[in-house]
């Protein structure tokens, strides 16, 4: 009989390991806001009804169904359970906890009980949070903590093996910005499509609109400054919009459009009369590339850092990398641009190759 039970269990397990862990298990959410100033702070704690029903009797009429009236009837007991299971301290001194009237919330399709908390603390200083709710009963239980301070947002997770969290020392905004500046530079370096597009914008800088080779000097510098500034402003706008979730576009069409920017940029470089459209080209596709950077930034763990230094640092990193590319490529262009073969042969050849690469990427991403 024992063997049979195991057989049946394994039958259920068979070939489904990949999907079997698909459901994440028990999760509670604790959000704290300390921006009100002073030692006291407010919070919100959401716990799934199905979890709460596991640790305390909520089904008063024992009909196998849970109603809002039953929850209201048990609200004192619920408040007692939370007061017993959750504890806060600040500056190493315990805080008194007041629990308000409950709400309901939906999270990933499950009904949650949501309560407002008010912690009355004796001193300022780092906040410490501890929970003993559900950990003894459910090994998958996690409490996802979010603490919003005047300068940043901390995120943390409580688990059966780590049931307390203490607010770390305040990270400097400059340090965050510096860290993300490196990220910005790194993403330019590994983003070949961005590098190639930038190169396509630079190539005609040493060529006159009539196709002849331009002289060196102020005109080239001004032209490049306008182009690079337009590109920078454009992708800064969309990076900001996307990173702050004000605008959200799907990744695939953006990646296709970025590949398309290489095709169009490359083809435009074949026709000197079209050089005058490099400014709108740089601005237009700069907007598109900004969304691409936002997708890259989305894949970076910000560790709950505030958005401003993250965004500023990442953008500064991208710009520094752009300037580094310009500084590296420009002397080479100035030198090669002096030769008669540059404008009619070398530049079109390089542009054509870039356009072909862009076309291949476009097909791949479609």
């Amino acid at each position: 009989m024992n063997s049979l039970r195991h057989f049946l269990a394994v039958c259920a397990l068979w070939m489904v390991t990949g999907a079997a862990a698909a459901h994440e298990g028990s999760t509670s959410y604790l959000a704290i806001d300390t921006r009100g100033g002073g030692p006291d702070f407010a919070g919100r704690f959401d716990v799934a009804l199905i979890d709460l029903a596991w640790i305390m009797p909520l089904d008063v009429n024992a009909d196998g169904a849970l109603s809002w009236n039953e929850i209201l009837a048990q609200r004192s007991a619920i408040a007692g359970t939370f007061s017993e299971g959750l504890s806060f301290s600040r500056g190493s001194k315990p805080c008194a906890l007041a629990i308000r009237e409950p709400w309901l919330a939906d999270r990933l399709g499950l009904p949650y009980l949501s309560i407002d908390l008010a912690a009355v603390c004796e001193s300022t200083g780092p906040i410490a949070i501890a929970s003993s709710l559900l950990f003894e009963e459910d090994d998958t239980h996690r409490v996802l903590i979010s603490v919003r301070t005047p300068t940043e947002v901390h995120t943390a997770t409580l688990a059966p093996i780590s049931r307390t969290w203490t607010e770390p020392g305040t990270a400097s905004a400059w340090r965050t910005a510096l860290a993300f500046a490196w990220q910005g530079m790194w993403h330019v370096w590994i983003g070949y499509d961005h590098l190639i597009f930038l190169l396509l914008l630079l190539l005609p800088a040493v060529v006159r609109h009539d196709g002849s080779n331009a002289g060196r000097g102020r005109a080239i510098a001004l032209d490049l400054a306008r182009i690079v500034t337009a590109f920078t402003v454009a992708h800064s706008i969309t990076l900001g919009l996307a990173a702050t979730a004000l605008v959200r576009l799907p990744e695939r069409p953006i990646e296709v459009a970025i590949a398309m920017s290489l095709v169009i940029g490359g083809m435009m470089n074949l026709a000197p009369p079209l050089f005058r459209f490099r400014l709108p080209l740089a601005f237009g596709f700069g907007l598109v590339h900004g969304f691409g950077f936002a997708n890259a930034l989305a894949g970076v763990d910000t560790g709950g850092s505030p958005m401003l230094p993250v965004l500023a640092g990442f953008n500064i990193g991208v710009e520094l990398a752009n300037l580094a590319v310009v500084a590296t490529v420009l002397p080479l262009l100035l030198w090669t641009g002096r030769f008669a073969w540059y404008a009619p042969r070398a530049m079109p050849a390089v542009s054509l190759v870039a356009a072909a690469v862009g076309a291949a990427w476009m097909m791949q991403r479609l």
Binding site: V10, C11, M15, G18, A22, P57, W68, L104, Y112
Partner: protein, 391 residues
Amino acid sequence: MRDSARVLRRATVAANAAAVAVFFSAGVHAEEGSRYRPTDGSKTLLLLPAALESKTATFFEEGSADSVARRAEEYTDLARRSSDARYFGRAQALITPWLNRPDLPPRLLVAAADLAQQRHEFIHSRQLLDRALAAEPRNAGARLMRANLGLLAGDFAAARADCLAVIQADALPGTICLASALTGPGSLERAHGLLAALDCSAPGAAAYSHWRVLTQADLALRAGDTDAAVQFLERARTLDPAHEETRVRLAAALLERGESARALALVDGPNVSAALLVARIRAASLIGDAVATAARREFDALLTIGLRRGTGTHFREEGELALYVDGNSVRALELARRNFAAQKDTPDLRLLVEAAIAAHDQAALAFAREWLASSGFEDRVALERLREAGA
């Protein structure tokens, strides 16, 4: 205090078996975590089936390894039936205090191995099973579980040895196990023959029907017969309509046949899981259905929560999304590689091959070709795709 807590817990254990969330009828609460207070307090928020308490209360005695193992098995089964991982956690919470004790009974070791396998801790799971089998070599459940680990690791010889040992205890599950573990040219036909020859009218055979039909579907897919695979999967769905993996595999097979609308209908609904959501996004994207956007949002939320919980590894699902929806073959290949390092089931191999082809990655193509050759795993579709790609 402890007794009273246990009484309270027991009184509500029933409340949690295969619980079904009933959305409050007052309206749509679309935004994640948005709050409300019901206007009608008598309406049901959550259904609490009462099956578990009556089954477990009669034998559960705290302090007995055997009763802890039995209760952990109950919760584990419940987690699988209800697709709710919190019951795995409840089983683990029962077992954890026992794990450092010496001379654990094999039954508790097997229950712990089952949970470790569920968490993708395959090496730990195998160690626990080895300990159980050292103490009780004829434990067929442990053998079968270890065979599954062998299959996931691509160690088909070890899996076959365990399956053959199971056959000696019970021919039916042992044979189904063996059908999945056969390798080499013609193994699909031999496996099919083994399954076709099973006596389905034997006592207890019905319990294995779903597993047998799922295995037949996998064999058909590997043979390139999608129509037969769909038929088997539809039968499996009839046998167990709630089985999530069956729905996901049937949806994938239907997508392969271009039946996106049917696939979408199959995986639509309120149940939130990574595999179902990805299947939904794939199907809805193909027919331009707005469901895709909502499902994508849910999937992103699930991943974010999984990452924050430290428990979320959905390489297969993320890889499928990157490959089939986002068209990001480079990311898809990276995810497919990480997924294949952990598990080597047919969908894992297919994802690796398709991502390698899309990314034009010769090293990955060569790796897949070499793995097929060295393991003997017969997947004619994957092999043909590799040939077409010149690998």
